[in-house]
Symmetry: C2
Subunit: 146 residues, 2 copies
């Protein structure tokens, strides 16, 4: 598992919403997610790029969870099966560890809010590619659901 310290976001009408995770700003490898608008907004809010006037779904639940004796440990993006990436959220209640299934986008927004580590399985990272390779790759990767 690789700990992510760099998160880049881009949104344009043609490519849609893209979030790129990497170990460092100049890392050779990266993990790329294409997101729907509300999933993208949740991450953008945590990064300080937008300030929604009303609580997003994440904000509602995180304000509820704040009142409960619950401690988040980390999130992990750990697998891809049938073109779908899988993540999990690891947390503790009364010293007991629990793991729940999550989409990577939700897990990343949660981790940014709670300031817990974002870990990505090394084999899910992509190498930096040439411009032509990126174009080909993006055509391919657009079909990946998050």
């Amino acid at each position: 598992m690789v700990a992510v310290s760099e998160i880049q976001m881009a949104s344009d009408p043609e490519r849609g919403n893209v979030v790129i995770l990497s170990e460092t700003p100049d890392a050779e490898n990266y993990f790329m997610m294409f997101l729907g608008d509300s999933e993208f907004a949740a991450i953008a809010k945590e990064k300080g790029f937008v300030k929604p006037e009303r609580p997003l779904t994440h904000d509602l639940y995180l304000s509820i969870i704040e009142k409960a004796p619950l401690k988040f440990s980390r999130i992990e993006i750990f697998d891809i099966r049938d073109d779908v990436y899988y993540a999990r959220v690891i947390f503790q209640v009364d010293g007991r560890e629990h793991i729940v299934d999550s989409r990577p986008s939700d897990a990343v927004a949660l981790a940014l809010n709670r300031e817990v580590p974002i870990l990505v399985a090394g084999e899910l990272f992509r190498k930096k590619l040439s411009k032509k390779e990126i174009q080909e790759y993006e055509t391919l990767v657009k079909t990946v659901k998050f």
Copy 2:
């Protein structure tokens, strides 16, 4: 406050996503919400209309909250200010009551999932209108944010 027992949903490209709350199926008055796609999907899933393959944001957090000693009491849609409707979620942790701010759409999805009462302030209900009045009203109500 009026307890809602009837929830109707409609989605079409022109009007967008509409959720209508009423006390009974043949009630004279109703509360109408216009929602974004992901807010609409969360309610549609709770109503059994769609079965998402991966957990929605609601599902992630509700599966986390399931592990915590937290009991939901009810949700209330209680106010409108500057064309924005306000809701709150009421829950208990260790016998102590907490109230958190929510958008009405999130609160309704949560209430349906946890099977707790949905209450709407009586003054927020609209009377049943003639077809012409509904058309005029809908032009107006589309500007209301949720």
